[in-house]
Symmetry: C2
Subunit: 278 residues, 2 copies
Amino acid sequence: MKHNPIGVFDSGIGGLTVVKAVKKMLPREDIIYLGDTARLPYGTKSVDAIIQFSIEDTQFLVDRGAKYIVIACYSSASVALDVIRKEFSVPVIGVIQPGVRKAMEVARTGKIGVIGTSLTIYSGAYEKAFKELGARAEILGRACPLFVPLVEEGWVDHAVSRMVAQDYLEPLKKDGIDTLLLGCTHYPLLMKVIRDILGDINYVDASTEVGVELAQNLRRLGLQNPDGMGSTSIYLTDLSMNFKEIGERFLGEPMKNFSRVSLKRYDEKSSHGGKEAK
Amino acid sequence: MKHNPIGVFDSGIGGLTVVKAVKKMLPREDIIYLGDTARLPYGTKSVDAIIQFSIEDTQFLVDRGAKYIVIACYSSASVALDVIRKEFSVPVIGVIQPGVRKAMEVARTGKIGVIGTSLTIYSGAYEKAFKELGARAEILGRACPLFVPLVEEGWVDHAVSRMVAQDYLEPLKKDGIDTLLLGCTHYPLLMKVIRDILGDINYVDASTEVGVELAQNLRRLGLQNPDGMGSTSIYLTDLSMNFKEIGERFLGEPMKNFSRVSLKRYDEKSSHGGKEAK
């Protein structure tokens, strides 16, 4: 099992930032990545739809022998983590908890800001995670639905992005947060604009933390690959315009090994080879 | 057959503007509407994906007895109209040609602007349609990918929307267009902002034209319903947050009759009951 790959999924290609962080911490591990580009974004869909999509994504990775599942999509991690853990026997890590742990570690005062898609923020997943980890800080969530389209338009340092960020972040600034958790794969690309508004506070990008925590977990479970090739296989449900250009921006290196795939549909009546198959 | 409903599909709920226009022209016709909200938007997906989705959408409507198919999604109409016509025997109308006809009718000088999603603009569907209809006008296309997210954020008269519109539309203004074709279901909601920049030129929203042309075609084919109830049944592949509120903004009346459905997957190897079934 230790020679098997780590499986990472996201609604699109933004999750390649998580792959980049994992590869940095675990250069010998082989990684299979699934981006559900045919149905992206997840953040505007219903909770039921995201849970169904997330089960299908996980099943795809499990079918390819994934020894560990990383949910790199914040919307999925917000609403589907518990279901995935219940339905599959493979260990699973989401992007929510590692970021929350780091935020609790670095926050000095009692106010932590969290930004994400509407779904991520309104799901209450962050409040729940902070509470479960015993945080006493006040958590201030703010949905920033235009940040993803702005990044995808390439306007990462544009007057419009500054104006949108001003609108979204001003309330967090007034509230005096000292730490901001970036709860979406695309937001790190807007760091310059965000920092211009919120100034010199702590910024937490969960990608790095996921890498650190995953490395610890693999060691603890004896699942570290002693002699892997560090390969990355990228599967996408649609090869849309510019996917390679945008993907390489997230991955930080050329995308060499990718293909288009169809996912098996999850049907509540059918077995999906999770717990049972093991 | 004349008692059968008209089938309308879109990637989401924006196509309800077309339903509204069709109901105005044809108050007795029953309408079944399919919004593929689980996979929206189409405009950022590949041509292959949009063709596959459009076949699945059409099949759903044909299975429910649709006597005429209206493609209310500009991205679908741009790249999938010919395939749908080839694969199904039911008559089909898209949103591209009716708008083009109207633009040719009202344009005074030789310059017509067209705005749409990146896919719609880069597909060249508008240039092709203008050419096929014998237009001599110069067609100036401009992709406006942030307009849809701005409308969905509800920022229809916001400083940010004005700044984005300025960025997108300034080149069309400089070029001196006298007619602007709105090539996306969401754009009519931004009319105030657009008019503030481009001033008193001709604006063409294809929804109305689709209604007019559909009425003519039904009459010509003897497919008009003499005693329909004017009912509207709305099927969505996902019931996402706020869908009802946003849908009613497009439809212009309360959404009473809606349900969530799953689509049969189109597989090139399988029969999909189109020409063969008739």
